[in-house]
Amino acid sequence: MNKIVLQVKELGKRFGEGCPRCSGGDPTALERNYCPACGTVYALSDVSLDLFESEVLGIVGESGSGKSTVLNCLYFDLEPSGGEAFIAQYKNGNESIFSGSGQTRRYIRNHVFGKVYQNPVLGLKMKFSSLANIAEKMIAAGNRNVGAMENRARELLTHVSIPHHRMKEAPANFSGGMQQRVQIAKALSNNPPILLLDEVTTGLDLSVQARVLDLVKQIQRELSISMLLVSHDLGVVRMLADRTIVMLNGRVVERGLTDQILEDPQHPYTQELVYSLL
């Protein structure tokens, strides 16, 4: 088996203070992921996962299941309430990335992770040129050569099929599918070993979805990047992920090879999900 590039241990994210009833970690104290006594929402409870080199790990679940929260915590968009995450690039994997300072976190964001958001507004500067959007991550990583950054940005935008004559345009002028492709190019700009993909095809037309998925597949094949792929759509996960994790109410309810989960779902929720796909 390949080596592990990202290890998440007992990740937790709570919105609210918690109370004696819910803070013990007993899932039966909650209604779904919500404590009726104090109103605290347990968006993530005890989520652990390993991501292997050049693997695509799918995370499926309904909206509110916590799957996007996992990515938000890893990309430091949200501060987790508990748990740890390890990558080889930070202190040889001996210390959790959540213990890092603001500067370390930025380093990890800029060098280790690339992220594609469901909503391109969060991932792009809509009024800056597409080239500048790609360059932003390289600038943040310390690159100070315009020619080199422009070339790299053109290469990446070509890769995601943005026509040459539109590269100086701002993503605000682009269609949803094009914006998503610019985001993917941006996420790839520093050759990150790990890509975080959050519902990258949600809200796109079917034909556009297919193109974006093809692109992700192609990138994965060519660059052997490890990917955490979040989707509510089992079809997307089936097409891309080697292994899959199923989440419900902030917890992992099932995990395994994607094929195995599709053939023989164990958890009632997964069964429901799989049957609805057929």
Partner: protein
């Protein structure tokens, strides 16, 4: 070639200043400061409030000097305030010790202690009173005498209520559990005129900035929050009071550590203020998935009688206690950094200053970018607005 002197500036400026003095005096009559004090109570109150300096006399001089421009008068008064040594902070004033002249509530028809209308423009018709042009000191005195005669024996006409006699409307709501209970907070407030704001701010800092805000800006932003730039919760004025608050300072010769009590305090005078307590219904979680509606309070207080401003301030205070990036009125940086008269008028008016150097520098960039555009037009020439940045 002889010695060359730079010429122009100083002489022209002196002439402009003289011209300004001419404009104020050219009619051959000048305003008596006493008359400003006597007849411009509203403007004096507005200027004192925006200046955050309580002195009717200095305000009157500034108003005269500024030919009645509140912008200029506030500016002058603030600059004067900067030079005053600040030797004491007053003791905490409990506002129920107010000598009330006016007091209204929109929450209940009958409030304990009753509604006191006092003096207000709320009940007059805004018809031009052409008799004003005929009014003389003598006719005014006659009216006064007649009024005194007619009202003698009815103390309510001039005298105000005894301090401490009027219960607060909010206390009524509190006693019935309808208001959030808050702990009394004795944290020493930061003085925003001595320490720069840093965000996020404390409530005491926000209240200080709001109370010295430009009347029109406070009103407009409060209006915006009420009209829909906010979560549309209709506030109600629980109580609006206008009256005098006694100000005391601690005995400077008693060591604070030994404990000071009110007996040792020095009474240094009273200030007229407008105080508003608004109530806004909000949802409060009560556990077991339930919420209850309870009342949140918005607080406004201004030097002088400035009722619209004080109400608007109470709305903004409540808005800023619930930050929400979706609404500028709930964004403390947006509200607090743009509400000050001296800052806003100063930066706008600085656009009149010469900008030859920066403009010449911009010109250089424009010329160069023209040249380089002509040199290479490899890419489709997209029509883009100019990049942000550049000199001010």
């Amino acid at each position: 070639m002889g010695y060359v002197a730079i010429k122009g500036g100083t002489a022209a400026i002196e002439a402009s200043i003289a011209r300004l003095a001419y404009e104020r005096t050219k009619g051959g009559t000048v305003l008596d400061v006493d008359r400003v004090l006597g007849g411009m109570r509203a403007l004096i109150d507005q200027v004192m409030s925006e200046s955050s300096l309580y002195s009717e006399e200095v305000a009157a001089i500034c108003i005269k000097q500024a030919e009645g421009s509140p912008e200029e008068a506030v500016f002058t008064m603030r600059a004067f305030r900067s030079t005053l040594p600040r030797k004491h902070y007053s003791n905490v004033v409990e506002s129920d010790s107010m000598r009330v002249e006016r007091r209204i509530s929109a929450t209940f028809k009958d409030i304990p202690g009753g509604q006191i209308l006092g003096a207000s423009y709320d009940y007059v018709h805004r018809l031009v009173d052409f008799a004003m042009s005929e009014e003389t000191d003598q006719s005014a005195t006659e009216w006064l005498t007649a009024w005194h005669d007619a009202t003698s024996g009815t103390p309510s006409a001039t005298a105000s209520a005894e301090p401490g006699r009027l219960p607060k409307v909010l206390d009524y709501l509190r006693d019935r559990g309808l208001m959030k209970r808050v702990e009394v907070d004795h944290t020493e407030p930061k003085d925003v005129t001595k320490e720069a704001l840093s965000f996020p701010t404390s409530r005491s800092e926000r209240l200080q900035v709001l109370t010295r805000g430009q009347t029109g800006t406070v009103t407009s932003l409060g209006y915006a929050s009420l009209r829909g730039y906010g979560p549309l919760l209709h506030p109600t004025v629980a109580e609006l009071r206008v009256g005098y608050l006694p100000i005391t300072i601690a005995d400077p010769f008693v060591d604070e550590a030994d404990g000071t009590d009110d007996e040792d305090a020095y009474y240094i005078g009273e200030v007229k203020v407008t105080e508003v307590e608004s109530v806004v219904p909000v949802a409060a979680p009560r556990g077991e998935g339930r919420s209850e509606i309870e009342f949140d309070i918005g607080y406004g207080i201004c030097l002088g009688q400035n009722e619209t401003k004080a109400i608007a301030m109470s709305l903004l205070d409540q808005c800023l206690q619930h930050p929400d990036p979706a609404f500028p009125t709930h964004d403390e940086e947006f509200v607090l950094l743009h509400i000050d008269s001296v800052e806003a008028t100063g930066f706008i008016s600085h656009l009149k200053l010469p900008h030859y150097v920066t403009f010449q520098s911009n010109l250089d960039s424009v010329r160069r970018s023209r040249n380089s555009k002509q040199a290479s037009l490899a890419d489709r020439d997209v029509d883009l607005p100019p990049a942000p940045g550049g000199g001010v």
